[in-house]
């Protein structure tokens, strides 16, 4: 019975890890989308001539902005997004390794459970 409880606990922990993993993977995908959007803007800025005025949308208002300032702004944003991606990738790896460990633990408990149920006579039924 304690094996059963252990199994249940381990599997719920495993499920939690899975939920965490899908959450960080979602964050990773969002960052990727932001990265590609900012890279497109950077590419666009690179082709600008001096007479192309740049505006920034602040709330509902378009505000004139210096081209150089806009460019450096996008660059800092790109740097930030890249470092965020590195951080999130680290998280993903960490959770994945935890998940692997849990999986091994689960397998261990399961085999122990099987051995226990095959060695005990059928008079002691195990309800799952």
């Amino acid at each position: 019975m304690s094996l059963q409880a252990k199994l249940q606990q381990a599997s719920s922990e495993f499920q939690n890890l899975q939920a965490d993993l899908s959450k960080v993977i979602e964050a990773r995908q969002r960052l990727e989308a932001q990265l590609s959007e900012n890279e497109l803007v950077k590419k666009e800025f690179a082709t600008l001539a001096p007479e192309n005025t740049v505006y920034k949308l602040i709330g509902p208002v378009l505000v004139k902005q210096d081209q150089a300032e806009a460019k450096s702004n996008v660059d800092t944003r790109l740097d930030f997004i890249r470092s965020e991606i590195r951080r999130v990738e680290g998280q993903i790896k960490e959770i994945e390794s935890k998940q692997e460990k849990k999986k091994a633990e689960l397998a261990q408990i399961q085999t122990a459970l099987q051995q226990a149920s095959s060695s005990t006579p059928p008079s002691a039924p195990i309800t799952v």
Partner: protein, 154 residues
């Protein structure tokens, strides 16, 4: 779940096959969704292209209705037919001349078209995989029902 990629699908049993099939189905759904979104974006850019072409010197000083909201318009005059302001993403807008804007939108449409094409390829490949898998699954189920549930086809 973490089967090596080189495993032969004919070696899997029915439960595993349907699991793989479900995964493929999810992927396919996601891809077709993205496909529809890309098509939508492309249509939007094409509409912009059409609209930019209407901002031409012949229409200078003609009265237009400017939408303030979806349902509120004010009359205005087109005073500068040479420049438009283009949304380049992440909240930045750039003032461009008409030819520049046309080029910008044509490039965008082209960029999306490339993505759509490669996505179409991927979707087709996934569909092929899916059909192949479904065939095998059906064969297995048939074999199972004919030979009784105890006899597993090798």
């Amino acid at each position: 779940m973490s089967q090596p990629q080189t495993i032969n699908v004919t070696d899997l049993d029915i439960a595993q096959l349907s699991e793989v099939r479900k995964q493929l189905e999810d992927e396919l759904n996601h891809l077709t969704n993205s496909f529809a979104q890309l098509k939508q974006a492309q249509a939007k850019f094409k509409a912009c292209l059409e609209n930019v072409k209407e901002v031409k010197p012949e229409n200078k000083n003609k009265t237009i209705l400017v939408p303030l909201t979806n349902s509120l318009y004010v009359p205005g005059k087109l005073s500068d037919p040479e420049h438009v302001i283009v949304d380049v993403g992440t909240g930045y807008y750039v003032k461009k001349t008409r030819p520049q804007a046309v080029k910008h939108y044509t490039d965008k449409v082209e960029y999306i078209r490339k993505n759509v094409d490669s996505l179409e390829d991927t979707i087709q490949k996934k569909r092929d995989n899916m059909n192949y898998l479904t065939n095998i699954l059906q064969q297995k189920i048939q074999a199972e029902t004919q030979n009784g549930p105890s006899a597993r086809s090798q």
